[in-house]
């Protein structure tokens, strides 16, 4: 990697005084920076800090209210992705923009040929793609349907798409959010290769260790403003974290302690898969009182199956399933609630809440029939009191209980869900991706509450794709891969790389052979 300073003379990219408002919200406030040839800039900030908006402006998907974007000295016309592409800007979006029913090469070629052209030269396109895959270590089969690829492979297709268009500037929006540690390492290798060949990279992230590993320079955004710019070699994770949140960060402390009695036990449990998603394959799992059990794994490897099983949506096809020593019979969400299982669902918008219901209605969604109804009539007064109490106790920032929940931010929505679960004092808490998409303040709040529930003797199952989160909070860690569950590893006995190997599916065979 070349340092930023020797080629400062001619920036490949210059953002000047970019401002963008969405209604009352100022997403970007007078942001300016330069990118040099062969440089990697990390754009660091919490969710909602304006990173993605800024890059969407650069790429022409949004039009800025003020400010200009210059690429190789030329001002880009605003709101025109085509112009950005033609100028050599390639963007890999956080949510991939790929068509699943098209093949890899078709996705890559899309938009590169004149629409009036009479033929597509498939052969030449595939040859060029093969050449690029070799040069940049991006292994992928050009003839495969994108819908059948893994997330890591899809990301490679996205990068190939940019390289195929001869991008000189690569923008990657949260590229590692969906990757295993090994896949992330491979991505970094590709990026280093690209930089070595003269490309420049903007790397958007909120993961500090990645920023430290890959970037030459770090730019920190907070509430839409550029608050700091540091040469990465001259800063530290602690400083960047403080800059990012605008103050000291306090993550909950988890003290090691002996495990309580087993509250939930799965022995050799299998479930039927759902479409292409795998079911569980002979899973053994025990959740103990007073422990947080972390479940790591790349998404789509059976986490949903396990979460559906525990929350009552799916019954086991075979194997034993006991709660506090009693086998579960007929299994349903209602029975799961009755047996003391509290659920924080993976998707707070779709299954956690009903968007157009108000906070009162959402607060009593799980208990309205038992606790807030009499003789078949709703007791709205009691329900409202409950909602007010949750709002106060769990610090839900909102205009009031009659607000429709869709108007709340993700963090406040999650606090309400958390309150709804914890108020019933559940013995077992299923927390599926409880902090996905939340900012650090809300993350620490949710983690703190889960840690408290652990102190009070609940068994917590924490499902997450974020290894850092799993490793910080969990007393025991399991890894899922293709519906199989690894043995439990106690706190401090496993390194991220080793867990990553399990996430990639290694090790399961040996266990099966040994048993």
């Amino acid at each position: 990697m070349t340092g930023p300073h020797d080629q400062k003379a001619q920036p490949v990219l210059r953002l000047s005084n970019i401002t963008k408002r969405f209604g009352a919200l100022t997403a970007n406030d007078d942001v300016s920076f330069d990118l040099a040839r062969g440089e990697v800039i990390a754009l660091l900030g919490e969710n909602g800090a304006g990173k993605t908006t800024l890059m969407n402006i650069l790429f022409g998907q949004y039009t800025a209210d003020a400010g200009t974007v210059e690429v190789f000295g030329e001002v880009l016309p605003p709101g025109n992705p085509r112009a950005a592409l033609d100028a050599g800007v390639g963007m890999v979006h956080q949510h991939f923009t790929l068509a699943g029913n098209l093949t890899v090469w078709e996705n890559i070629v899309l938009g590169t040929e004149r629409l009036g052209a009479l033929r597509l030269d498939a052969k030449a396109a595939k040859a060029r793609i093969a050449d690029l895959s070799r040069r940049f270590h991006l292994a992928v089969d050009p003839a495969a349907k994108v819908g059948r690829l893994t997330v890591g492979e899809r990301q490679r297709v996205e990068i190939l798409k940019a390289l195929y268009r001869e991008a000189r500037i690569l923008i990657l929006d949260e590229p590692t959010a969906v990757l295993t540690p090994q896949e992330s390492e491979a991505l970094f290798k590709t990026l280093r290769e690209a930089v070595g060949q003269g490309l420049s990279v903007v790397f958007i992230s909120h993961k500090l260790h990645e920023v430290m590993a890959i970037s030459d320079r770090t730019i920190v955004l907070r509430h839409g403003r550029l608050v700091a710019e540091r040469a990465t070699a001259e800063t530290s994770r602690e400083e960047l974290a403080a800059l990012m949140v605008g103050g000291k960060v306090s993550a909950p402390k988890i003290e090691a302690r002996p495990a309580g009695p087993a509250l939930l036990r799965l022995a050799g449990v299998s479930t039927k898969g759902e479409g292409r998603a795998p079911g569980l394959r002979a899973v053994d799992l025990t959740l103990h009182a007073g422990q947080i059990t972390g479940l790591a794994g790349v998404s789509g490897n059976g986490q949903k199956a396990l979460s559906d099983l525990i929350s009552g949506l799916v019954a086991p096809a075979s194997g034993q399933f006991e709660i506090v020593g009693e086998p579960v019979g007929d299994w349903s969400p209602r029975r799961a609630l009755a047996r003391g299982i509290g659920r924080i669902p993976e998707d707070r918008h779709r299954t956690g809440t009903i968007a157009d219901f108000d906070l009162t209605e959402n607060a009593v969604l799980e208990t309205y029939a038992q606790d807030f109804a009499r003789h078949g009539w709703m007791r709205w007064g009691a329900a409202r009191a409950q909602a007010e109490s949750l709002i106060a106790t769990y610090d839900v920032r909102c205009p009031g209980p009659e607000t429709r929940i869709r108007l709340l931010s993700g963090g406040n929505m999650q606090k309400l869900i958390l309150g709804r679960v914890l108020e019933t004092a559940p013995r077992i808490i299923l927390a599926n991706q409880p902090v996905r998409g939340l900012d650090i303040g809300a993350v620490n709040y949710v983690h703190g509450r889960l840690a408290e529930a652990r102190e009070e003797g609940a068994a917590v199952l924490l499902i997450s794709e974020d290894l850092d989160e799993i490793m910080t909070l969990s007393d025991v860690i399991h890894v899922m891969s293709e519906g199989r569950l690894s043995p439990g590893f106690t706190r401090g006995t496993m390194r991220a790389e080793a867990l990553g190997q399990w996430m990639a599916g290694e090790g399961f065979g040996r266990v099966a052979d040994a048993s």
Binding site: A83, T97, L110
Partner: protein, 314 residues
């Protein structure tokens, strides 16, 4: 005459191909729309309008191919209305489509009354005549069935090849397929999803109208109310049956047409005298539903079908 005799007769297959032709036109039209992500339920009304427009144009003195062109243009205009409401305005495609069918049907009947106020039975035109293809039509067996058809039938089959070629072998087809699967991917390449979808709906609707015109200009020689008679809805099912692939959809159209030709002939057999004829009329639909259930379970629906796309929305 037993079933085997029917199935091996040239007359039976000639009828099946003839009945399939309008379905093929309209199915290709619908397939283009749906591949771009727009369900066009205006198809039934567009076929009625096309049937009338083509016929009245010829009645007024245009040549037959002029009538086809007028029908195509009529379909494109109705398609533009559907596209405008469903693509840039992003309205519910179901509501827009059904509304368009009602509008186009009523407008057609109204125009008919305005243009021909005094007429009790609709006038006839000279329709397309069968054109035996030299050589091919003389192939013994079924050669005469397939190659003694009207030029419009040949055009229907040529259209299938054309649609397949454009969809799978040209950059334009790639963009259309991508627009129906992941409009965001199209927009990210700086292409206009709106333009691609509008274009697909307009051209697709044009072909639907030609499907309607086949009835008045080739199958029959006049225009009747209710002559389209649900063919549009059948075409919607044929697109699903064909798993959004032109060749398979064409085979579906021929299969359905063969059932239809078969039931007409079965009515004239000894069994036909015993069973109410309505039962035979029902048969093609029943068999279609059965085939649909068997064939389309694993079909890959365009992922963005019926999903409006708004640029700049998160």
């Amino acid at each position: 005459m037993d079933i085997f005799e029917i199935l091996t007769s040239a007359a039976f297959w000639a009828a099946a191909i003839r009945i399939a032709s309008p379905l093929i036109f309209a199915t290709m039209g619908e397939l283009i729309c749906e591949r771009a992500g727009v369900l066009n339920l205006g198809i039934e009304g567009i076929m009625v309008a096309g049937a009338f427009a083509g016929w009245i144009a010829v009645y007024m003195g245009l040549p037959l191919w002029g009538g086809v062109a007028v029908a195509f243009a009529t379909g494109m205009m109705l398609g533009a209305l559907h596209g405008l409401l469903s693509v840039p305005f992003g309205l519910s495609q179901h509501v827009v489509g059904i509304g368009l069918t009602l509008l186009a049907t009523s407008l057609t009947f109204y125009t008919y009354r305005v243009v021909l106020p005094e007429v009790s039975s609709p006038p006839k035109i000279t329709a397309f005549q069968p054109y035996p293809i030299p050589g091919l039509s003389e192939i013994p067996g079924l050669g005469s069935a397939f190659f003694t058809q009207t030029p419009l039938t040949y055009a229907a089959f040529a259209l299938v090849a054309l649609v397949a070629f454009v969809l799978y072998r040209t950059p334009l087809g790639l963009a259309v397929r991508a627009a129906g699967e992941s409009p965001a991917a199209v927009a990210a390449q700086g292409l206009s999803v709106t333009a691609i979808r509008m274009g697909a709906v307009i051209v697709g609707s044009g072909f639907m109208a030609v499907g309607g015109a086949f009835l008045t200009l080739s199958a029959f020689d006049s225009f009747f109310f209710d002559m389209v008679n649900g063919r549009g809805w059948i075409c919607i099912a044929l697109v699903v049956f064909g798993a959004w692939k032109p060749g398979k959809a064409m085979l579906g159209a021929i299969l359905f047409a063969a059932f239809d030709a078969l039931q007409i002939r079965l009515q004239q057999t000894p069994i036909g005298a015993l069973v109410p004829y309505q039962l035979f009329l029902m048969m093609p639909y029943l068999l279609s539903i059965l085939a649909l259930v068997l064939m389309s379970r694993r079909a890959e629906v365009p992922a963005a079908l019926m999903v409006p796309f708004n640029k700049g929305e998160r």
